[in-house]
Amino acid sequence: MGAFVGMNNLKSTNKTVATSLTIGGVIIAVMMIFGILMLLAQGGVIDVPDAMFYQFLTIHGTGMIGAAALAAAGVMWYFLNQYVELSRSIFNWFLGLVIIGVILVVIGVFSFEFAGAWTFLYPLPTISASAWGTIGALLYLFGMLILGTGFLLLYMDTGRAIIKKYGSLGKGLGWDVISGKKKEEDAPPKAVVASTMVTIVNTTAILAGAAVLIMNIINVINPSFTFDPMLAKNLTYAFGHIFANAIIYMAVIVVYELLPKYTNRKWVVNRVFLIAWTMSTAFTLVIYTHHMLMDFAMPKWMLIMGQALSYANGLPVLVVTAYGALMIVHKSGIKWDMGSGLAFLSMFGWTVGVVPAIVDATIVVNHVMHNTKWVPGHFHMYMGLGAVVMLFSFMYYLAKVDSTVKESKIDRIALWCYALAMISISVQFLVSGALSTPRRWAIHYPGWMTPAVFGAIAGVFLVIATTIFIIHFVRYMKNRGKLGSDKYEQKTA
């Protein structure tokens, strides 16, 4: 009876997680279409009114970050739940609040023409030059606030559960192992270490975001209430940078959990691994200042810190993860399939994706490249080829262990199609950046157009590949648990 109940719980847990993945995946695919439309408009192929271009820009940024975070949270929750006791009702609340937030944002952007970008940088939501009104701005800002509340609830639950099992968040990061009080064999699992890191940084980010969102709301309602714009910008990026950055730290758990299963090897947690994660926890919290290298009023030490620690943040977790992934796969006789292939591809994407970021975080380079398309080049590569690929990897993994849906040749073609398309899109942004093409401009000079058109064409293939991934996952959702859930996982464990 106990086992039966356990299986029921597992099935419904998988359903909840799969729902977040499905919503996230579908939104990501739709957002890609907006991306293509923007590139086509910049390439002079189609005519999109300027105001509409900025609406597309706003929904594309908000939707991509929100959807990837939603799906990544599902991945984190799925694996963390295997080690600590999480609340499913809180995950449902999280899902509900995120959906409400998304609806408000969509209405704000498309019905009330809010186009202040996902960074909603103060005082832009208020001072729109009549491009949008109070209602649009309020719907967007309240939508983001509700979305953030949903995530805050989730992280409170993960934090609570980790503290309950391990004693403190420090122990969740393995500080007692680092200090030598505990043996390496007793270190917390990788999923717990990563989840603890994300809980710490994202709770901080969301609280900063909540304060600046409410300030913006007050300013929208009563524009005579003005605030220090530099403090507002600091809080905005403390929220935006950390929140976006944390997506990959949630999603990477799938790599940690999958590759040992596929290779039948142990991926041990050692002191170096734990120190790397602690360093990334600290650095992730403070490196957002690399977004402000052009703000002359910022204290100099913060900018130097932004550069130095951005260099440092790119390395610890990435190095231990990429090196660990290579070591575990090397001569393991791994049987490649969609799950493992995508997980490995994501390591490549993450590794190459941080390089343009580190280049741009260099103050002298930033003087030239700041707000050029070099920046989207970095984050499309890092997110599109790293974080989002991890999410698709998890989708295939879940479909494999929880259903009888088989992968086909089309799926494998889609993997290569996705990889090549995403590389093409990223490279066209980087080339545009090198040509000094400004980012966030609706209209391009003729000399800037070719890479944009190339990116749009690649984008079509990207959407096709993503749709194939999602169709596979939807097929899994329909066949979920028919032959008993997670049988395969139990066999391979």
Partner: protein, 186 residues
């Protein structure tokens, strides 16, 4: 069990003594960050007694603590607005409302806090943390005098008071999440 009742009643009496009341209300930071919380403390002590005496009533109207917390958040948010402080000094009915609503907050808190359990408590705590930071920022950064009764310097002092509370709350959170209490209990 009557002890909380006596403490609450005595504190309430002290707070309504006219010289004490008017002195506390003459300085903005004392008004907002001492008098108002003390009124809630009054309610907390009275609540301990009342909830003990009438548990069935509270079980019926505030079973899981959520209705109570919603009311608490609404009333405290109301009293954090600059305008309400002004009105409490200008209009007697607002002053009376203050001396009724804030003890009610304390009373509801005494009943609701344990009922909303850990996740609810953390949520409320973090909610107030960001709200206090926001209020601090608002009072410090406002380019205009917000109240007729208090000068801009008093307003800024209050802002720093909120920032101090926020910083203290952050320190509390950090020790709460990074110190393993299980070992201490052992």
């Amino acid at each position: 069990m009557r002890k909380p009742l006596y403490i609450g009643a005595l504190l309430y009496l002290i707070l309504i003594i006219p010289p004490i009341r008017s002195y506390m209300e003459s300085i903005m930071i004392i008004h907002m960050l001492i008098q108002l919380p003390l009124l809630m403390v009054v309610g907390w002590f009275l609540g301990k007694y009342i909830v003990y005496k009438a548990p069935k009533v509270f079980h019926a109207i505030n079973e899981n603590g959520v209705p109570g917390m919603i009311l608490i958040v609404a009333i405290t948010m109301y009293w954090m607005l600059p305008r309400t402080l002004d009105e409490a000094l200008t209009l007697p009915q607002y002053e009376v409302f203050k001396f009724i609503s804030l003890p009610l907050v304390g009373l509801l808190l005494a009943d609701s806090w344990a009922k909303i359990r850990d996740v609810g408590q953390i949520f409320i705590y973090l909610n107030y943390l960001s709200m206090f930071a926001l209020m601090g920022w608002l009072y410090l950064d406002s380019p205009i005098q917000l109240c007729n009764n208090y000068l801009i310097t008093q307003q800024k002092t209050l802002g720093w008071g909120f920032i101090f509370i926020t910083a203290s709350m952050i320190v509390y959170v950090l020790q709460y999440v990074f110190i393993d209490r299980r070992r201490i209990e052992e």
